[in-house]
């Protein structure tokens, strides 16, 4: 990773070029677990954006004083701090959502995207740029998860954001139970990765072709 990058490059790389989910295949565990309802996915995405952005900022601010030998401990500590903060806020101000997401908010601590960005980017880049990188990496993750969630909720439950969708919620549509269960996430995610990678491969030769 180059030490200095333009903000625009950082944004594009994070959301599309090196999208954490379909390019780096990171954070898959939560992508499978929380994507059967769109609303849950959106809140989960917000939690990840919050954590990647702020932990990127904090790791970058401290990078000059952090001893290299314990840098990963410090990173995990910072990540855990933001995740617990979000989890507590959710428990206090949106208890229904906190109940829906159950243990998954806490598990963001082990989401490899966040640790990955802290290690690969925030450690070597200025604070603001690290914040931007974290924010858009989180956004890239959220967008892919939302795509998966829309497919799963629509086919599996006939609704979107909890609201019934015409046709899909009627008797004409036999709800695909498998979409609600974990295998549905595997199929959907694989299709989305396939689609995104196909588009990327088509474009890459023009830029000079990197695989």
């Amino acid at each position: 990773m180059m030490p200095q990058k333009k903000t625009q490059d950082v944004v594009l790389t994070a959301v599309w070029g090196d999208n954490p989910v379909f390019r780096q295949i990171l954070g898959i565990c939560s992508a499978l677990a929380v994507t059967n309802l769109v609303l849950n996915t959106v809140v989960m995405g917000a939690a990840v954006i919050f954590t990647t952005a702020l932990s990127g900022l904090t790791v970058s601010l401290l990078r000059k004083w952090t001893p290299r030998v314990i840098r990963m401990m410090i990173e995990v500590l910072i990540i855990a701090f933001y995740v617990i903060l979000f989890d507590q806020a959710l428990k206090a101000y949106w208890p229904d959502m906190s109940r829906n997401l159950g243990p998954y908010v806490g598990l963001i601590i082990t989401n490899c995207i966040i640790m990955g960005r802290a290690e690969a980017f925030a450690n070597a880049n200025p604070p603001l740029l690290s914040f931007v990188d974290g924010f858009f990496s989180g956004l890239g993750y959220t967008i892919v998860l939302c795509c998966v969630a829309v497919v799963r909720e629509l086919f599996g439950m006939g609704s979107l954001l909890g609201m019934p969708v015409p046709f899909f919620s009627s008797v004409l549509w036999d709800r695909w139970i498998i979409m609600v269960m974990p295998p549905g996430a595997f199929f959907t995610l694989a299709l989305i990765v396939w689609l995104a990678r196909t588009i990327q491969v088509d474009r890459e030769p023009k830029k000079g072709g990197v695989t």
């Binding site: 059967n36 903060l85 609600v180």
Partner: protein
Amino acid sequence: MDVRDKAWYPILYMFVITLCLSTVLILFGSITRQRVKDNERIAYERAVIEALPIDLPRRVSPAQIHKLFIRSVHDATVSSAGALRYIKGDSLIAYALPLEGPGFWAAIKGVIGIAADTRTITGISFYEQNETPGLGGEIVKSEFTAQFVGKRISETSNPVEIRAVSADLDEASVHAITGATQTSTRLGKFMNEQLARWREQVTRER
């Protein structure tokens, strides 16, 4: 020699960072603690009210739920065998029996309402569960819970049976949730154990 190369520096650094972050968390935790507790309490009170034959407006504030609970729901006595009592005027209308047991992923906690005849179910409501959304999680939806209203607890066999969707129903059985066999089975198991125990105790006391 730079201070950062000293052997004690990483230890001190880790200590200071941990101290700072923990302080913020503890402060935030103490600010929100009461709120979190209140939320849990309201969720429980709401479940009790939903299980009882009380009309709850569609949009109701936590304060209203609490007021309603305090006014109508009374503590358990020996003769109610551990169930809360819903009293209107001077007469006992129904019992609310808290249920708790293992689900598929985590504990399920709920409340079942039973009319004063100790046989007719007035409703069931769950206030804590972590079942798979869309599958086991459907136990909180009215499609499932509404089935219980008006059912009669069987006097001899399992109080309320949860049967497969293809099975016929009688006055003491409801349909399970498709695709959530584990949740349905486990819920049925602990609900029936606890209801059977209550049925026995309340009959003895009366």
